[in-house]
């Protein structure tokens, strides 16, 4: 029964299409009740339900798109002096070049007469990625001098992880300009495009501007982040013992300093860590073990200078930034 219905419906659409095609613009439209409309709408709804919504269209396939102006606007929107050729090269991914060559081959275009002269962003991306990594590492070392190597790696790894980089790239409008083989743009392609943009900026206006670009757009993602969200430490107490022995301080001694509601469903314990009869840190927890671990984490944050109430990072514009640096140097 259902199959017969579908047959009838498909026959109906065929007739409809014929009707639509054969209707010439010169014929004056008839004012009447459009009785075919109901069946047509019904069929379209059925088709939508069976096939699902159509795949998203990239922005360059939609009306009102001028690539050259878009790239110019991208450059001036971010207040940077990109070299436009480099910036355009930064948006071309190797997968796009490959797909375009395949497409041309399928269309039967002679590859010698109309050669595809496109330089992909592989080198720029590599350059940008290495610059990003080195700059972020230097910045972390300068901002948190006492943070160990693993901690710096954790912070840098969080900042250059695909989720953070793609979030930044999407909100800077890089996704629209990216030339990629498939749409929506895959995360790794978008990440490498972002790195290529950084590389292009470094080549066109120097390492200093690129560093400010990274500071303003990537390092701002650190705001409100906890150290141990980015750097997984399984045994904070062991790490604290290591740090204290490095500094020739006596080992921490956990003591239960406060507790409440031990026999209830919401117990609360406060464990203080003492080193040489001085309180290093105290932390709350629902169990004694948990409270001790939390106290160790608090002590580590204090040691590394990554407490919640630390001085905020300096994000002032370049001229002001240099002035404050000079002042701090002369003050010292």
């Amino acid at each position: 029964m259902a199959a017969r219905c579908m047959l009838i419906r498909s026959g109906l659409t065929f007739r409809l299409q014929n009707q639509l095609v054969s209707r010439r613009p010169s014929v004056t439209p008839v004012r009447e009740k459009k009785r075919w409309m109901k069946a047509y709408t019904y069929l379209m709804a059925k088709k939508l339900k069976l096939e699902g919504p159509p795949p998203p269209k990239p922005r360059w396939q939609q009306p009102n798109w001028d690539y050259h102006s878009e790239v110019h606007a991208f450059s001036s929107r971010l207040h940077e002096n990109f070299s436009i050729e480099l910036l355009k090269a930064a948006f071309i991914n190797p997968c796009y070049v490959h797909a375009e060559q395949e497409r041309r081959k399928q269309l039967g275009v002679d590859s010698e007469t109309t050669a595809l002269v496109l330089k992909d962003n592989f080198q720029l991306s590599e350059k940008g990625a290495s610059f990003t990594k080195s700059f972020l590492t230097d910045w972390c070392r300068a901002s948190f001098p006492s943070l160990p190597h693993e901690g710096v790696e954790g912070i840098v790894g969080h900042l250059i992880s695909p989720s953070v980089v793609c979030y930044v790239a999407r909100n800077l409008g890089i996704e629209d300009l990216t030339m990629s083989a498939e749409y929506p743009v895959a995360d790794d392609v978008l990440g490498s495009t972002f790195m290529a943009v950084v590389g292009a900026l470094e080549e066109s206006s120097g390492a200093e501007r690129a560093a400010f670009f990274l500071r303003d757009f990537l390092l701002t993602q650190l705001i409100g982040k906890d150290l141990f969200d980015m750097w997984t430490v399984m045994n904070p107490m062991g790490l604290l013992v290591e740090e204290l022995t490095k500094r020739n301080l006596p080992l921490p001694e956990p003591r239960l300093i406060r507790s409440a509601g031990a026999n209830t469903v919401l117990p609360l314990y406060f464990v203080g860590l003492y080193s040489d009869t001085k309180l290093l840190a105290q932390g709350p927890g629902e169990t004694l073990v948990g409270a001790e671990e939390e106290a160790a984490r608090v002590a580590l944050r204090k040691l590394y200078g990554y407490t919640e109430n630390r001085r905020p990072f300096d994000f002032s514009p370049p001229q002001l930034y240099q002035q404050t640096l000079l002042q701090s140097v002369t003050g010292n």
Partner: protein, 151 residues
């Protein structure tokens, strides 16, 4: 509808905009109007008088002017976070259209819904979350019910 039932959000900016540098969030604006319709008269005036000045003043925004047969002219604004906003500008004067465009330029592109508070912070409390020992001197021991007989 009560205020609890309406959608709401916290005050925030896209990508911590303004912490490092300010980035105008309007990436692209299309002015769609008709060449003949009466309702597009103001838009046609604006395109003759003001659109070039606007585009020069905002180099970070791509302005597309597209004449097409339509009864209601509109401004379609696209923002960096991917949102699109349409503003209908039928029967508006050139001055009013410039005002609408300036308003769209200054917006962040986030949904315009109720904002819960006119301020926001990621760390709401400076001294930390309240617990039974907040502001208690360390010398006092365990928490017990208050002494009934003490006068």
């Amino acid at each position: 509808m009560t205020s609890r039932g309406t959608p709401s959000r916290f005050l925030k900016s896209v990508l911590q905009n303004g912490v490092g540098r300010y980035v105008c969030q309007l990436k692209r604006v299309s002015i769609i109007f008709s060449k003949k319709a009466q309702s597009s008269l103001g838009v046609r005036d604006f395109i003759e008088e003001g659109v070039v000045d606007y585009a020069k003043k905002n180099p970070g925004t791509v302005v597309y002017v597209s004449p097409q047969a339509c009864k209601v002219p509109k401004i379609v604004a696209e923002y960096l976070n991917g949102n699109t906003k349409e503003e209908l500008v039928d029967n508006k004067t050139s001055q009013q259209i410039l005002e609408a465009l300036t308003k769209l330029t200054n917006q962040s592109g986030l949904d315009i819904i109720r904002i819960r508070k006119p301020f926001h912070t990621d760390s709401p409390s400076i001294q930390g979350q309240w617990h039974p020992f907040t502001n208690r001197p360390p010398s006092v021991g365990l928490i017990r019910p208050q002494n009934q007989h003490a006068e």
